[in-house]
């Protein structure tokens, strides 16, 4: 691959990071963050994008970034106050910058009118007379990167001979400049004749090694003009005396050469002159602060211990944890291998048990340790992939701004728990459902400003996006402070679509959850914003595909909250291994509240196959897993099995009846969809110690289907006959 192409790729990747940084900073400022480092970080993000864009001659991007940068510089220097208005403009500018970056990357053109409008707004923020073309004299295009071989040094047009009188001061050496190198540079401009003036070199006894004692007069003959000669001394301007005069022109330059020297002789002399005081051939640097160690002759070679004792050394300790970049494929490979290791370890354990080793035997104890270690390795490997949800949360402010603009509803997005970590694969698959839910919250959840005013609420609606860890899962909430679910209307829609019977008795919770039903929302009634015919049922399905659950709670007049609960990783799960009708199944332990042996007196039939079981004071549905999955046609007698009391995401309880419990085990999650498809009631598969595939139960679906199948079918029948 062309190395420049690769760098271009790096640039655009880096731009995405800078854009995220930019937005985060601006949002923090909007929330009252006045830390100069925040402003600086924002400035730096724009500045970096401009810098890289310059290297690739991305003109539109450079121009916009320049105006943006100028505004940020005003703010950085305190001349522009970060008022709400200003920050709103800057946020819009960050959106345009993002569009320009993507347009540059894809070779498209961004919306020029929009960009031009923001440029005007930004200029209005900037200093008087600031212009978009402020740096055009630098001619960005010319600086673009080209292979060295393609460039030849230009020979300046002016000809003749120049006399250069050059007397360095100590400062020149303190900045690590070297006279010899400067003189060598002059040789590139033409033929040179150098005279050394060592008249000010003192006796050795009185020599100050930090001072400068030598001067040179150089005659340059060639095509170089004065500017080219002065350019050689550009870095030492102010740290030396420099006179450049045309030879034979000015009488002022008339000191007669004392003797001709060639450059190598000069270098040799330069070294010789320093040998007595410093064995190293370099010119004497002068300490910035007169450190005592810098006195001759001790400074010649400071012992390493001094460097270690140097207070500056403490600055070398990293302030943030050191990081490395690793190819994701390598991590994935490692995770796969550890997964295999876990399976192998389980197989080995099983074989050892089957071979009849006692629990207390050395082999069994060694295996226990192996299991412990394997688990730790697995946790550590998983941690590598864990990332804060910030990366997906960061995409939401822009979405909110856009939807707010489209709907004409002022919205404030509040995010919490951005640092909550979850597996990278989970994060990647969160973006779509979150996008949809946030659109939905603004479009359907929040009222118009007028309605809010009537209800005595502030005109600006609020959408809250929060993440937190809860009992081994990540819980993400999207809440709005809108009107709450209009249950009358939701129920009516469901009736109209034949999803429920008109007279079906339903709790508020059940009505709210109707919005997740397939077919509840259709393209015809979904507005542009809430999306192209995508309903909440799709959101629920994508969350379920991640092994997650979603629930809604709503309070009239106060707003709605969607709560998603997702596994921290898609790779492993703590499971309860159970038997059902000769099949081995795994139930996620997180859902299980307790296990119990049903007593005949606690189980009651509700007609048909519907049963409930009394658990302490309440009755919960008893669901025969074998029936639910179609493994058997007749239910198991409750007393023949074991019941797993489970609690769903919405807090609803049920008891799952299985034949027997085999034990608890951490299992590696294998996708069924990779080679097959989603199977109702099954969340995923795993491979057990015996090498066979076992299915992992999707408890919520089993509960919902068992309930829904009975109630919904019954209601449909009623609707049909009634």
């Amino acid at each position: 691959m062309d190395p420049l192409e690769a760098i271009r790729g790096t640039f655009f990747q880096e731009c995405e990071e800078q854009l995220a940084e930019l937005e985060t900073g601006l949002l923090a400022m909007e929330n009252g963050d006045t830390d100069p480092e925040t402003i600086n970080a924002v400035f730096r993000a724009v500045h970096s994008i401009k810098g890289g864009a310059g290297a690739f001659s991305l003109e539109a991007l450079i121009r916009f970034a320049h105006v943006f940068e100028t505004a940020m510089d005003e703010m950085r220097s305190g001349r522009l106050a970060p008022t709400d208005e200003v920050l709103k403009t800057l946020l819009r500018a960050s959106d345009v910058l993002a569009d320009l970056v993507r347009a540059a990357r894809d070779g498209d053109t961004a919306d020029e009118a929009r960009s031009a409008a923001i440029v005007e707004e930004l200029k209005a923020l900037g200093p008087e007379g600031a212009s978009e073309e402020a740096e055009s004299e630098e001619d960005w295009g010319d600086f673009s990167f080209q292979p060295l071989s393609a460039v030849t040094l230009e020979t300046p047009a002016a000809a003749g001979a120049w006399q250069v009188r050059f007397r360095p001061r100590a400062d020149l050496y303190a900045k690590a400049n070297e006279s010899a190198l400067l003189l060598r540079e002059l040789t590139r401009l033409g033929e040179i004749v150098v005279e050394l003036d060592d008249s000010e070199l003192p006796d050795l006894e009185s020599l100050d090694p930090e001072a400068a004692h030598l001067a040179w007069t150089v005659t340059v003959t060639g095509d170089a003009d004065e500017a080219a000669i002065r350019e050689v001394f550009e870095f030492v301007d102010g740290d030396c005396e420099l006179e450049v005069t045309p030879v034979g022109g000015d009488a002022d330059a008339g000191t007669a050469p004392l003797g001709d020297l060639d450059i190598s002789a000069l270098l040799a002399e330069l070294q010789d002159s320093q040998v007595p005081v410093a064995p190293e051939p370099e010119p004497e640097p002068e300490p910035v602060a007169a450190a005592p160690v810098a006195t001759a002759p001790a400074r010649a070679a400071p012992p390493p211990t001094e460097a270690a004792a140097d207070p500056a050394a403490t600055h070398r300790k990293p302030e943030a944890g050191a990081t490395i970049r690793v190819d994701l494929e390598r991590v994935d490979r490692l995770i796969d291998l550890v997964g295999e290791l876990v399976i192998n370890q389980a197989m080995l354990s099983q074989r050892v048990m089957e071979a009849g080793f006692a629990r207390a035997s050395g082999v069994a104890m060694g295996l226990d340790e192996l299991e412990q270690l394997t688990r730790e390795i697995q946790d550590s490997v998983m941690a590598i992939r864990a990332q804060p949800v910030k990366s997906v949360f960061q995409r939401m402010p822009r979405l909110v701004r856009e939807v707010a603009a489209m709907t004409g509803k002022p919205v404030r997005l509040v995010t919490e728990g951005e640092g909550t970590e979850v597996d990278k694969t989970v994060i990647e698959r969160l973006a779509d459902p979150l996008t949809h839910m946030i659109r939905n919250a603004i479009d359907h959840g929040l009222e118009s400003p007028e309605k809010r005013a009537e209800a005595g609420k502030p005109a600006e609606g609020q959408v809250r996006l929060a993440a937190a860890h809860r009992s081994g899962r990540i819980v993400i909430e999207v809440a709005d402070d809108g009107a709450g679910i209009n249950r009358e209307r939701v129920k009516q829609i469901a009736v109209d679509k034949g999803l429920i019977a008109a007279d079906a008795p339903m709790s508020d919770e059940e009505i709210d959850n109707l919005i997740f039903m397939p077919g509840f929302s259709t393209a015809s009634e979904v507005s542009d914003i809430s999306g192209r015919g995508v309903g909440m049922d799709v959101v629920r399905r994508s969350i379920q595909a991640l092994g997650g659950r979603i629930a809604i709670s709503s309070r009239p007049g106060k707003g709605s909250t969607f709560t998603m609960s997702l596994p921290l990783t898609l790779a492993v799960l703590d499971g309860m291994v159970v038997s059902v009708e000769g099949q081995t199944l795994v139930a996620p332990i997180t859902a299980i509240v307790e296990t119990l042996l049903p007593k005949a007196s606690d189980v009651h039939s509700l007609g048909g196959h519907a049963r409930v079981i009394a658990i302490r004071d309440s009755y919960v549905p008893l669901i025969d897993v074998g029936m639910a999955l179609g493994y058997r046609a007749e239910p198991l007698a409750a007393t023949q099995g074991v019941a797993l009391l489970i609690e769903g995401e919405g807090g609803q309880r049920a008891a799952l009846l299985v034949d027997a419990i085999q034990g608890q085990r951490q299992v590696v999650i294998k996708s069924l969809e990779a080679n097959y498809r989603q199977v109702p009631g099954v969340a995923a598969a795993t491979i057990l110690g015996d090498g066979r595939v076992a299915l992992i139960l999707d408890i919520d679906t089993i509960v919902a289907v068992s309930r829904g199948a009975d109630s919904l079918r019954a209601e449909k029948r009623l609707a049909a006959t009634g």
């Binding site: 760098i7 400035f43 500045h47 810098g51 960005w140 060295l148 460039v151 400049n177 500056a312």
Partner: protein, 121 residues
């Protein structure tokens, strides 16, 4: 023996650009992401020249140069400042801190190599 250049820049793009330009002419390149990191690298590598950005998180170019110069062992290392900010104030601040020279971004590889040659053997 080829010369070692330490490049200090928070932008990956810039670091890669520098690496490409410098390795193209046979220099060995070691990289750091900011001033603090630059000091760490400096502790283990012996660069012949340092090329540093100014605007960086954690420790900016000025702070970095001051730290480098405060160690007597590092006083002789030429430091070139890499910056888009060509104004005199930035250059002067860099020089006050002890910078040897500067390169204006976006750089032309010829100018970059020229500047290095002007400060290092």
């Amino acid at each position: 023996m080829s010369m070692t250049v330490l490049t200090v820049d928070d932008s990956r793009t810039m670091r890669e650009m520098l690496r490409l330009a410098l390795t193209d002419v046979g220099y060995r390149v070691v990289q750091a992401e900011d001033g603090i990191h630059g000091l760490e690298v400096l502790a283990t590598e012996n660069p012949d020249v340092i090329v540093t950005d100014i605007n960086m998180p954690r420790m900016d170019g000025f702070g970095f140069i001051e730290e480098v110069r405060s160690d007597p062992q590092n006083r002789g290392i030429p430091i070139l400042v890499l910056t888009t900010e060509s104004d005199a104030e930035k250059k002067n601040r860099a020089r006050m801190a002890g910078a040897t020279g500067w390169i204006v971004k976006p750089f032309n590889p010829v100018k970059l190599v020229d500047a290095i040659r002007r400060v290092a053997a």
